[in-house]
Amino acid sequence: MSLIDLANPTRFLALAARLLPWLALVTVGLLAAGLYLSAVAPDDYQQGATVKIMFIHVPNAWLSMFVWGVMSIASLGTLVWRHPLADVAAKAAAPIGASFTFLALLTGSLWGRPMWGTYWEWDARLTSVLILFLMYLGLMALWRSVEDPTRAARAAAVLTLVGAINLPIIKFSVDWWNTLHQPASVMRMGGPALDKSFLIPLLVMAVGFSFLFITLHVAAMRNEILRRRVRSLQMMQARAYPGSAPASGATGQIVGAA
């Protein structure tokens, strides 16, 4: 890794350092406001207080798909434009997206418990989210299986784009499979007709969670860049000719450079 490769990420690091406190502040403010609005929102006449799970569930479900979209654009950046930050962005987004997806599944099944009487129902929406979760885990396993991140980047980018094309097909098949078996579908979650008293807290929460994603993503990209720097510095240290620089001096260089 040469210095030219690091030039662009260096500017990103400076930008991230300036942006992160503000992003964190906006996120905390929005989420606090959203939680307050959710708490004072009225109970549903059918579902009672359980409807408030929606305020967490829907933003997470929306982000679970949005993050895959972000990774797809980043993957295009890796494959087509060869932008040095693209694969950093894609790699950093995967665990965050997986976490949002997991939260969507968790809140979905907690919501389903009072409605279906079981924690899990092979409902078309939940099942699609579960498959998305599996794809996130597979992608993370792919990133983890190769030590050199630049080598893993291309494989992961191809998989991400194939996933982006395949996700609608999977969604369609699961819907078809589900209606085939269950003509009279049980109640659908988050129907379109929402009262304003629900809609406003939901929107605030959705924007809040989106900012949470941006904050976490910028922080994770910064960590990934630093991790790669440590890696290249370690490789330089390994290559240092024995005797030319004492071990303690080389360690000092790392601390200074990072």
Binding site: S109, E121, L134, R144, V146, H181
Partner: protein, 222 residues
């Protein structure tokens, strides 16, 4: 004992580091279990009835597929030569490697079982029964599969050949594992009888596996 402890620690470390395959086994297990309802339909009553069988099949396939690299990785980088030459009996070294593999790849399957039980609508008793039978039975799968992994080194082939060789050998474990789970859920057999046989199968495999694997490795190196 230092030698065996060192071997177990090393194998677990490699499995958990980047490039290690410990958690991919759990992911495979999860995927297989999630695929089942797409084949049999989302009927919860049916899934409950098939649940133990689905979980056992998933665990069986997952533990066999991760065994592929048990000895081949050490063979390719020359470590296996040194392990064979060492003052530690090869049988014990094989057993230590299998134990490390079970800790890194088999035990997570048992831990993941309650989550997957939820997907298949199993109640607490049923999930507990399946997890307990997997805890008793997956060591047998690892120690039997180890024989296939050792043969894979000899033949310079792994993957499907290993599965074809080892799957028939693991049929008894599957029979008594699923039988014990079903006994705990619906009866009519008492849980103890098939479960004891399952434990016995595991104990027998602790003896047969290392000896067969060591014999195969000793004769197979070149």
């Amino acid at each position: 004992m230092t030698a065996l402890g060192a071997l177990i620690r090393r194998d677990i470390r490699i499995a958990l580091r980047i490039g290690g395959g410990a958690l991919i086994g759990v992911l495979f297990f999860l995927t297989v279990v999630v695929l089942m309802p797409f084949a049999v339909g989302p009927d919860l009553a049916l899934l409950t009835r098939l649940g133990p069988a689905i979980l056992w099949l998933g665990a069986l396939l997952s533990s066999l597929l991760t065994l592929d690299r048990l000895f081949t990785a050490d063979h390719e980088d020359g470590s296996l030569d040194l392990i064979v030459m060492s003052r530690t009996p090869l049988e014990l070294a094989c057993a230590a490697k299998a134990l490390a593999h079970w800790l890194a790849a088999g035990l997570p399957l048992v831990i993941a079982t309650p989550v997957l039980g939820l997907l298949l609508n199993l109640d607490a008793t049923a999930t507990g029964a399946v997890a307990l039978t997997l805890l008793a039975g997956t060591p047998a799968l690892t120690f039997i599969g180890m024989i296939g992994a050792a043969l894979a080194v000899t033949m310079h082939r792994g993957g499907l050949l290993l599965a074809v060789l080892v799957l028939p050998l693991s049929i008894p474990v599957l029979i008594f594992g699923v039988a014990a789970s079903q006994a705990a859920i619906v009866g009519p057999l008492p849980f103890g009888a098939p479960f004891s046989i399952l434990c016995a199968l595991s104990l027998v495999s602790f003896v047969i596996g290392p000896f067969a694997a060591a014999t195969s490795l000793r004769n197979g190196l070149d």
